[in-house]
């Protein structure tokens, strides 16, 4: 029977009430007294020498407070990159400066050139139009492979080329991998594009800078997934503000999906400008601006080869990927195609020899960084596509080929540097097969055929590394920050408590699910627990929310802090009941002495902690407040099996998703309702990538998909009702909750099954030459594939 509260219950979300009544407080809802507004004048050419910026006419426009250009930021740091990748020769990556406002050159359409601060947003915008620019346009670097040819135009003149790094993983393994291919009975090769996407949280980015002249304190309100990370990066590396004089607040945030992890130039600008003009300065991105400034995701061009022996066992995987970095290195950009991609190339399979090569390339495009899944969808897509292609070439069942090669014993050390602690890939596949009525497929196909439609089924597996991340490990891999998480539990005198977490909730429902955990541990009602997040002034230093890490890392920190609370409360209870501490038990919000009928309520103990009249002051301090920092000793490894059925209209090439099923292993689950909602959203984003979404640049570096009229977001009628299940679960072995994280799975696992299903439909219809179509599978692409 489902629980009605605590761990495992589908508690309704407490945050919903404010969101459903218009009482949420998002960054754009914040207006400060005397606030000015900034409008950024952005480059409309992809590449050029910035010869002159004439602001004289604009400065005389009504309401203009001040106009800033690159010259105002000489001596101010640029936004830093948080991860250094070492290339296959042992050399550090090439790392260009990223100034707040363009200096000397513009490098992508959207690069900020000047910033007009004015009394109203309209005045700022009007004045920006009066700025005269003199730009000598240069050839745009757009195509990645052309960008790394000798003699190619350079995006950054001070770098030796457009190659950020050429990464080999694991370089020492390459001879063994090559030998596996020499010895293979069969090799399947696939070249593919992992399409560039725009994350598109529904709330555009906003930043408000404030400066208090009386105290020299700066405050930044920003749409961020990790306010402490922004405070550290901006304070220490950009503006030189010590952390105790800088507060960063990320209030209600309307979705992130990775794009609100990064420290953006606009955040540094408003904080800097507020001090300069002695007024709060606010920036609100338009959606059009979001398309040309929010970091994009994916954008890999890959060749993957799979070697098999005569018994169809996988013996080797070899890949070569070109990964687009865009014009500058965004905060975590270098880590995405490397440590979040190469390390997942084993997938769910016991392939002994794996070599991954990634060439990261600078182009005159928007910077590319993490987007939901971040590297892991790219790994999953190529692997699950090449396995499907291999099954077809070998004439074997694609599910059986996967099963035959599943990793079945744990822990399992992959050849790509990670150790899976636990999993049951057969379990999730079995669950999936229960969900999809595979035996009935032929009848459904016949029915589709009778309606003139082509039907296909696609299946795939996935694995991801979540709970990011063990600090010591990522430190070795080039991370310039730790990736622990923190929590402070502050118990009030009357027994209610507040958890201040370094995690951040921007749709995930932490205020509900985190409270479920603590309430369950103590045995008090969930409404006695309040979750506070998003403000560096009242939360301990934490690294924020991304990489499906919040419950696995942040939740674990909260458990550790609560354990400290309980341990201290037991000492107080022992004193109150004149019993031995070791005999005290906590159950349902009351402390009792084992084997007796003595007990004291939770509230009596908390009151004693703050009114310590009868209290062991010589042994313990008054009060009941504890902090814990938790650094995991491994990633978590959610995994699963997904299936998709599609119908294709052969006259138009339009693909319709007829059904989609997801069997996930997330380990233990705190709130099933929230977990299923996370999967639904991920699936829609993955289906969006597979069928609809594409960031498109022309050869001049002009963005062709810069609005919702050009970039196809999934709408309600593009997706079906989803079948989801997480009952085949193997709890994580190394964190206290046994949780693995669920935020990204849907987006990681779904694109290959959609493409596999479309290829299956076309193959069954006799289009045997169609072995792959690049995403998004638009009607034009599918129809064209059918004509060859």
């Amino acid at each position: 029977m489902p629980k009605d509260s605590g761990i495992g219950a589908s508690s309704k979300r407490r945050e919903d009430v404010r969101f459903l009544t218009g009482q949420g407080r998002y960054t754009d809802d914040i207006n400060l007294l005397g606030q000015a507004y900034v409008h950024f004048l952005r480059s409309d050419v992809a590449h050029g020498v910035l010869k002159n910026v004439d602001t004289s006419a604009a400065a005389a426009m009504p309401g203009v407070v001040r106009i800033f250009t690159g010259a105002d930021f000489e001596g101010v740091g640029g936004v830093p990159c948080g991860w250094q990748v070492t290339d296959k020769h042992g050399e550090p990556m090439q790392e260009p400066a990223h100034p707040i406002l363009a200096q000397g050159k513009v490098r992508y359409v959207g690069d900020a050139i000047a910033a007009v601060v004015a009394d109203s947003p309209e005045q700022a915008r009007d004045a920006a139009e009066a700025i005269m620019l003199d730009i000598d346009e240069l050839p745009a670097v757009v195509d990645m492979k052309a960008a790394v040819q000798d003699g190619a135009t350079k995006v950054h003149d001070d770098l030796t080329s457009n190659l950020c790094y050429d990464w080999g993983f694991v370089e020492e393994n390459k001879p063994a991998v090559d030998a596996a291919f020499e010895a293979a009975a069969h090799v399947t090769t696939l070249e593919l594009v992992n399409n560039r996407l725009s994350p598109n949280p529904m709330e555009p980015r906003v930043a408000v800078g404030d400066y208090a002249t009386g105290t020299d304190d700066s405050t930044l309100y920003t749409t961020s997934q990790n306010p402490h990370v922004i405070r550290l990066l901006m304070g220490a590396f950009v503006l030189g503000i010590p952390e105790h004089k800088l507060r960063v607040v990320a209030p209600d945030v309307g979705g992130g999906f990775g794009s609100k992890i990064f420290h953006y130039v606009e955040e540094a600008f408003v904080t800097f400008a507020a001090k300069q003009v002695k007024r709060p300065v606010k920036w609100t991105s338009s959606r059009s601006e979001a398309f040309i400034t929010d970091a994009h995701g994916r954008d890999h061009v890959t060749k993957i080869e799979l070697a098999l022996d005569a018994d169809n066992n996988f013996t080797g995987i070899r890949t070569e990927t070109y990964a687009n970095m865009g014009a500058y290195l965004s905060t975590f950009a270098p880590s995405i195609p490397t440590w979040l991609h190469g390390t997942l190339m084993a997938g769910n399979y016991k392939t002994p020899n794996i070599y991954v090569n990634v060439k990261a390339v600078f182009t005159n495009t928007v910077p590319v960084d993490a987007y939901r899944g971040a590297g892991r969808p790219e790994a999953t897509f190529q692997l699950e596509r090449v396995v499907d292609k291999a099954a077809r070439e070998l004439g074997v069942d694609p599910i059986e080929l996967r099963r035959q090669n599943f990793i079945t014993e744990f822990p399992y050390a992959t050849p790509v540097a990670v150790e899976y602690d636990t999993g049951d890939y057969e379990g999730t596949m079995t669950k999936l097969l229960e969900m999809i009525d595979r035996d009935g497929f032929e009848a459904r196909r016949a029915e589709s055929a009778a309606n003139g439609k082509l039907r296909g089924m696609g299946v795939n597996c996935y694995i991801e590394a979540c709970g990011i991340a063990p600090s010591a490990l990522v430190g070795q891999l080039g991370a310039r920050a730790g990736l622990y998480e923190s929590a402070t539990v502050r118990v009030n005198a009357t027994g209610g408590l507040v958890v201040m977490t370094g995690s951040h909730s921007h749709g995930q429902g932490h205020e509900t699910s985190f409270a479920q955990v603590v309430a369950d541990m103590i045995g008090i009602p969930e409404d006695q627990v309040e979750i506070v997040h998003g403000d560096t002034a009242n939360t301990p230093m934490g690294m924020g929310t991304y990489g499906s890490r919040s419950i696995a890392v942040g939740g674990s920190a909260m458990v550790r802090a609560t354990e400290k609370i309980i341990a201290k409360a037991k000492k107080i209870a022992a004193h109150l009941m004149e019993a031995a501490e070791g005999d005290i038990e906590l159950k349902d919000g009351a402390f009792s002495v084992a084997g007796t009928d003595k007990s004291v309520a939770w509230g009596d103990v908390t009151l004693a902690a703050y009114v310590p009249h009868n209290y062991p002051l010589e042994e313990i301090e008054p009060g009941l407040e504890e902090t814990a920092f938790y650094d995991p000793n491994n990633f978590t490894y959610p995994a699963g099996a997904y299936a998709c059925e599609v119908e294709i209209d052969p006259d138009t090439g339009k693909v319709e998703i007829m059904s989609f099923a997801a069997a996930d292993d997330f380990g233990n689950v705190i709130n099933p309702m929230i977990v299923e909602g996370q999967v639904h959203g991920g699936l829609a984003q993955g289906i969006g990538q597979a069928l609809l979404e594409n960031v498109s640049y022309d050869e001049n570096g002009q963005l062709l998909s810069a609005s919702y009229m050009d970039y196809t977001m999934p709408r309600a009628d593009d997706v079906p009702m989803f079948k989801v299940d997480h009952s085949s679960a193997t709890p994580c072995t190394h964190n206290p909750l046994g949780v693995k994280g669920c935020g990204e799975a849907g987006a990681i696992g779904s694109p290959p099954s959609v493409v596999n299903a479309v290829v299956d439909a076309l193959q069954r219809a006799g289009h045997t030459d169609v072995t792959h179509i690049d995403m998004p599978l638009t009607p034009a692409r599918v129809w064209s594939a059918m004509q060859n």
């Binding site: 207006n31 999906f257 338009s286 959203g681």
Partner: protein, 161 residues
């Protein structure tokens, strides 16, 4: 600047606006009613949907000056008189039809307009009606379910999906 007066959630309001001031700006900046959200600049996303004289309207495409004397209803006016959640709002909470909450005001206002015209919509009718409301978080599954539940239909079969 020209003065415009209208009724918002039953309350008479007025303010000085420019000719270019949008209804969404009038509500958010002029009236400090920030429940109505703006998620795009091409009238695609639907986060800004309000009711004007009983019809669903994208408030980012309506000029405030054109709405002299209009009756406007926003998300702030959707709760019951005693402050409890209205039927549609409650269904969204019960069926987890929201995550980050940013598209939610527009979704609720669109759902109310749909159910007024079509009290028992089919799943497909709900999906087609929501063509002008984009959600990035939920995959729409639970939004569609919530709207059908709010219409009094049994959604237990969907729950089993």
């Amino acid at each position: 600047m020209t003065q415009v007066s209208m009724t918002v959630n039953g309350r008479a309001v007025s303010g000085d606006v420019e000719g270019r001031t949008l209804l969404s700006e009038f509500l958010r900046e002029g009236q400090r009613m920030t429940g109505t959200h703006v998620g795009c600049d091409t009238s695609q996303c639907g986060a800004c949907v309000v009711h004007v004289n009983g019809e669903a309207v994208k408030s980012c495409t309506a000029l405030a000056l054109d709405l002299e004397g209009a009756e406007v209803k926003t998300i702030e006016g959707m709760a019951n008189a005693d402050g409890s959640l209205g039927v549609i709002q409650q269904a969204f909470q019960d069926h987890h039809g929201l995550q980050c909450g940013f598209c939610t005001p527009g979704m609720v206002m669109s759902a109310a307009a749909l159910l007024k015209d079509n009290p028992k919509p089919s799943e497909q009718e709900v999906r087609e009606y929501l063509e002008g409301n984009i959600c990035r978080c939920t995959g729409y599954h639970n939004i569609v379910k919530a709207i059908m539940a709010a219409s009094g239909q049994d959604v237990s079969a969907i729950a089993a999906e």
